[in-house]
């Protein structure tokens, strides 16, 4: 039994975070079932047994059952689509590491696109600063959004660091850009 001081312990589904009894309303029923079967087989047997399912549907009219089934299907499709979209977004988003010349021999490194991987820019910036012992900050870019600016030319090191620390960023999605302040362009603009 659970520690009395902590009250009753309720297990939560690892997929949809609801108590397993409510998984059927979460939209990811299939995955929840698999998860429950693996991690809490006893609970799985109780909740998804044929008798329990029958008891669940017996009290509803046929029409209501149909409606519920349709609803569940729609929800599942929606959840799937959202997941697909998320995966697509991940595959398409690119982390850009840009080396910007600040003075002749001095550089800053700007990293943008990390937020697409669900990272907290502020925390990552702190990590960069710690790792490379340089200044590192989150700055707003004119086009909206934010990027991390690290002092010094650390573009290669950042790439390595990112790949090592955040495994869900694929190597192909990291782009290194060299942004030289060419005098001609500056003159043309001016």
């Amino acid at each position: 039994m659970a520690d009395p001081a902590f009250g009753r312990q309720v297990a939560y589904c690892g997929v949809c975070t609801l108590p397993p009894e409510y998984c059927e309303y979460g939209g990811t029923v299939k995955k929840c079932q698999e998860w429950l079967q693996k991690s809490h087989p006893d609970m799985y047997a109780r909740i998804w047994s044929p008798e329990a399912l029958e008891a669940a549907t017996a009290s509803l009219s046929v029409e209501a059952q149909e409606r519920a089934a349709k609803d569940a299907k729609k929800k599942a499709a929606k959840a799937e689509a959202a997941e697909q979209k998320q995966a697509d977004k991940l595959a398409n988003s690119v982390v850009t590491i840009k080396r910007i010349e600040r003075n002749k021999r001095k550089f800053v490194t700007a990293v943008s696109g990390l937020e697409a991987f669900g990272l907290d820019l502020k925390k990552v910036a702190k990590d960069f600063g710690k790792k490379f012992a340089t200044g590192s900050s989150v700055t707003k870019v004119p086009s909206g959004g934010e990027e991390i600016v690290v002092q010094g030319d650390v573009s290669d090191e950042i790439e390595e660091f990112l790949l090592e620390k955040y495994k869900d960023i694929p190597e192909d999605n990291i782009e290194l850009v060299d942004d030289k302040k060419s005098k001609k362009a500056a003159a043309a603009a001016g």
Partner: protein, 214 residues
């Protein structure tokens, strides 16, 4: 209220005086929580506050969400707290057909409670009382705990008034699926049998539920 994902401000530690007053108001709202109050709010650990949109504050202890409060209004328990102490809060029960609507954030309507699967309070039932710790000798007796509770079938033993917070259980389920504030007293609900009963609440899988409080 929390249908969308929330963005919360960073956690703030609360002064112990505020913590004390919160503890007091928690006990006045939920007298049944008295035996457990030291487990809910251990005296030593510090309570933290997270500010959510719409002037809602969420109170967190050691990364565990405890309860939320809108403006200076009623304190409503977070569902994770309800799951830990299911007997400490007044409950009503909805029938099976209503679950999926509640879990997608709809207003709870009276027919879901008055039908066969639903349970509204019934003053005539005998509640199954939770065991209480005997008062220690020489110690002053704390605030009295009212003799109320749910009977075996889930009828609460006291009619609940409009504006009271209530936990929503569901037919055939052991854990609560929502909490909210009544916009219609349970007595009126029985008489009328239609209309909204709980308007905006906190339900399983909403933004507040998914909010990361670690």
């Amino acid at each position: 209220m929390f249908k969308k994902d929330l963005t919360a401000s960073p956690k703030q530690k609360l002064k112990s005086s505020i913590q004390r007053s919160l503890r007091q108001s928690l006990l006045t709202t939920y007298p049944l929580l008295t035996p457990h109050i030291d487990d809910v709010l251990p005296k030593k650990s510090s309570l933290e506050q997270m500010k959510l949109p719409d002037r809602v504050s969420l109170y967190v202890i050691e990364g565990q969400p405890l309860f939320y409060q809108e403006g200076g209004g009623v304190i409503v328990p977070h569902l994770k707290l309800v799951h830990r102490f299911p007997h400490a809060f007044p409950t009503i029960r909805i029938d099976r057909g209503a679950i999926r609507f509640v879990l997608s954030g709809a207003t709870l309507m009276a027919p879901g409670l008055t039908s066969k699967g639903g349970r509204l309070p019934d003053p005539n039932t005998k509640p199954v009382l939770q065991p209480r710790p005997a008062p220690k000798e020489g110690e002053e007796e704390g605030p009295s705990i009212p003799d109320e509770g749910a009977d075996e079938e889930g009828h609460w033993s006291r009619e609940l008034e409009k504006g009271e917070p209530v936990v929503v259980m569901a037919e055939g389920k052991e854990t609560a699926c929502a909490v909210g504030i009544l916009v219609m007293g349970t007595k009126e609900c029985k008489e009328k049998g239609k209309g909204p009963v709980i308007e905006e609440g906190h339900y399983l899988g909403d933004g507040l539920w998914r909010l990361i409080t670690e």
